[in-house]
Amino acid sequence: MESLLSVKDVEKVYDNGTRALKGVSFELKEGEFAVIIGRSGAGKSTLLRCINRLISQSRGSIVFKGIKTEKASKNELRKIRREIGMIFQHYNLIDRLTVIQNVLHGRLGYMSNFHGIFDLYNRCDRRNALRILERVGMEKETLKRADQLSGGQKQRVGISRAMAQNPSLMLADEPIASLDPVSSGVVMDSLHNICKEDGISAIVSLHQVDFAIKYASRIIGIRDGLIVYDGDPKDLTESAIKEIYKKSPDDRMENKDENDEEKAIAV
């Protein structure tokens, strides 16, 4: 299988001096379903946002489909982003808009400014959006406002929006962190099945190690901005989990995340 994404020595230092990534390297092949695990503040979200350049890395190189994202012009960046679907922890839907309007936003990257500003989606886009909503079991909520949905439903709309992009790569930043266990299962099932059926590669950051083992074809463990585990879910031993969730001396999120390690190991 060919490499879809190549991340090489990526570092990210925020303006306040926080080093979120300290030289992350990995390659993602087409069709892979990679799950990133690690403590809060380990650099998972930063890494995902560097891939579609919502955040620019400080050093290193990210190559998506042969294009270096850091060197991409505005137009090239739009083209890269429209091929990378993103699912967010807090769904990032526009609450006042309907489900279908939110899903159709996934097509904006393919539209001219004029068409985008006046919501002139073509018939094919509209039909496709409805089909995607059917696939995630949200067809009955098409005309509901996003703020009338439950958390699980909102996340499925988020998945639909990303699917509307017709992406080659799906990034999901803790997609089930705000959901109950039942909704988490439904959302992960939807995401996994869609990616598998459509042959979409995915990088999903998760806190729940049991979900990671269940769905991933590959697990990447990050600690303090460095990859400390990269391999098959079957090989993820208890000691490897301990290593991923080990507290670091300069852990700034100590109080917030003191239960992370216990939770992960308990699983």
Partner: protein
Amino acid sequence: MQFTYIPLKKEKSLYTWTGVFLVLFTAIITGYVTQFDIREAVIVLPGILDFILVDFLPPALKAVPDFMTSLLDTLCMAIISTTTGAVISMFFALLCATPTTPNSIVKLVIRGFASCLRNIPGLAWAIIFVPAFGIGKTVGLLALTLGSLGSMIRFFTETIEEVDPGGIEAVRSVGGSYWQVLKSGVLPQCFPGIISWALYNLELNIRASTIIGMVGGGGIGFFIQFNIKLFRYEYATMAIIAVAVLVLLTESISKKIRERIM
């Protein structure tokens, strides 16, 4: 352990009394500087009451047909100036709100400009424009528009800055351009806030247009001023009541609109 909070209570009480003392002290000093004498106000009060009860009442119902056109002018002036002001303010607000500004220099310049505008009341603009344009609705329109620009830019900017950045991030992540981010990520989120502020500004402009009319801005204010000068106080009373009814009506309609768009 139960005495832990006693010093805090004492501290709080000390702060309260210091505050009360400072307010009273400031009131006495400013009263002295402005030579305000409460006794004088009490002495003239019966005269004022007599003047209002005898000269201003009862309101002259026959004045209604005379000022209906002026009242409509006032309403139209308030609507046009609010709409124009809102469109211009929205443009400036998008340029100077943190999530949508193209760069920090533009943001600083517009914020400074809005701040300057905010410090000049509509009445001052009317006084400036009367010599240039003469008495009439043009003065009222310009004064109301400029008078409301400063505050509307600020309100709109704050509304845009309060939108959920997640929506903006989502539109950026799908490959949306700057304009698409504005249209699909920012505007749907801040729309209720913007309309709400514009309606509030409309209420303010109806009130302000009455005052501005008195200094030459046209509309019902001019009618009130004209009749007071002719000692037809009961005509002025009727016009003031009409303005109050108009304001109440506008408030109730805008409240209903606000509830619907939320």
